[in-house]
Amino acid sequence: MKLGDALARLPGFSHAVLIVPDEGGYPLSVATSFRVVDGSVVVTPASTGQRAVRDTVEARLVVSHIRPYPGVGYDQRRYIELSGALSVGGSAWRFDPQGARGWDEKDLSFPELCQRALPQARRYLAALSTERGHEVKPQMAAGWRFFLATRLPFLTATIVPVFLGLAAAGYDRHFSLGLAALTLLGAMAVHLGLNVANDVFDTLSGVDDVNFTPTKFSGGSRVLQYGLVSLRQMMTLAAVFYVVAIIVGLVLVAISGLGLLWLGVAGVLISYFYTAPPLRLVHRGLGELCVALGFGPIMVLGTYFVQTGHYALRPLILSIPVAILVMLILYANEVPDRFADAKAGKGTLVVRLQPAAVIRGYVAAVAVAYLVVIAGVAFGILPWPTLISLLTIPLAYQTWKGLKAHYDSPYQLMSYLGKNVNLHLYTGVLLVIGVLLGILVRR
């Protein structure tokens, strides 16, 4: 905190605590009133009994504020610590500040403060490890570490297109439960491999280290930044997921035919090179396209092919709205990450575009997603009950409003990022239901 800024904020506090050296080597603190005069602080003399306050160059003046919140705790936390010289004597003492530090949660949110403090936590753990002769690490149960490291809840992005592909195959009178389960396993393995590899490469490139505003929707899992999992463990985990995905994929190719191979290879390559060098597709502004392709046409068409042994127009059309909406999850999640991304040379669309253009892009993409459904029905490609997916339009509207209102407030934006995730999930589920209803209507 700059000294001038600190002095300008002082009148917003009711009183100050003056801290001076005391006999016996203890700090001595005493509350007092004050006023700022020409860059100095005039302090009302305070009595500390027989051990009187003396002139010192090692004084501190601290102001602090909270607002009690009965039954909850408190909020509106802010404080400033000024360091400087104190001259006593007379009816008013003079404190000449030379430095300042402080925090106001209005300016710097508590979660961001915590993220910025990670290096201090690592230093403390390192010192403890040295002191004790063994590594002291933060603790978390293995199950929760796995949950966090893999970003398990985001699997809905995979489950939706796989079920859409299955519904489309069912509409064309093809369904095998065993193949469906195998497809889901392979698709989830690719997705989890992508999530873990993404953390590995974003840590290696420094992106996640300079991101101080991660949310539960963006900024990676941060298990590496928190020291909960080692880089080697994450690399092993990613490798395991990719090996599982490749084995399952090859089994499905053997069962369904070579036509699946190219789609599968494209899926794995896009997933891996999303953040991995040398392609680092997300750094080239291609992240959105990769996610749209991977979690849209590749998964829907791949699932459909496994069930039917051929490709078709209907699953392709069905894949477009979910492709767009899953792309918009990434797109909106990049908003709070944009400063860290830019710093690390990750040229996402949000980094490249002006905020107004980003928001216009969001609206246009959502509109296209719904128009594809309407056009699909109008041209007789999609069964008419798929129009129930339009029920999510109000959710899209809310997300757009939130994005516009809180573009620069990562933590206020968080609930709208959640709505955006739900927009993809609910629209996808309604499309699946629409296709299934289409089977009933057709009969």
Binding site: Y26, A31, S64, V72, Y74, S83, Q139
Partner: protein, 189 residues
């Protein structure tokens, strides 16, 4: 861990903490009005001596177990813990009429010797949780495994245990008047 002042005078390492303990039942020498301030305070300004011999002050929630002033600090904000390990002499100010809602209002400064208890960063601080929850009830909703995923290192915490040595108490909070001074070290000996 640094020197343990509490250990030096033969005080048990850490007693079980519970709500509602007053000085009258455990320590006669801590002035009753100051116990009231400690029990009501949502914030106090803790000053430690930093590596350069200067002061560093942070607002923290003070908790009173009847013998020690207790605080917890995340390893994220552990500079004060490092400072205490190097130099245990600290001072705590209870001064804010809003953050210390005691009636009648008064102010106090407590000087003492602190020690850092960080042998179990993950679970050790749960011993002070009942006292913490009494002042900040929302805490119990934030320490579920799912909630802790958001900021896991915030929940890796040490306890700061302060053995009070000297108390300055200003009735009505008027620090222009002389405080009542109680030397707890003398009282205990």
């Amino acid at each position: 861990m640094g020197a343990s002042p509490a250990g030096e005078v033969g005080v048990p390492a850490l007693s079980p903490y519970h709500e509602g303990v007053t000085s009258a039942t455990v320590v006669a020498s801590m002035p009753e009005p100051v116990v009231d301030l400690l029990n009501k305070a949502l914030v106090g300004e803790l000053t430690v001596i930093d590596r350069n011999g200067g002061f560093r002050t942070d607002p923290l929630i003070p908790l009173w177990d009847g013998r020690h002033i207790l605080m917890t600090s995340s390893i994220l904000f552990s500079r004060k813990l490092e400072d205490i390990k190097r130099n245990p002499r600290v001072s705590l100010s209870l001064s804010d009429p809003v953050g210390v809602p005691a009636q009648p209002f008064s102010r106090a400064t407590i000087q003492g010797d602190a020690r850092v208890i960080d042998d179990d960063l993950h679970q050790g601080w749960y011993r002070v949780l009942p006292l913490w929850e009494a002042k900040e009830p929302i805490i119990k909703t934030l320490i579920t495994p799912m909630q802790k995923l958001g900021l896991p290192l915030f929940w890796e915490r040490a306890i700061i245990e302060i053995m009070p040595r000297r108390v300055l108490w200003w009735p009505n909070g008027d620090t222009t008047r002389d405080p009542e001074v109680t030397d707890l070290q003398d009282a205990s000996t």
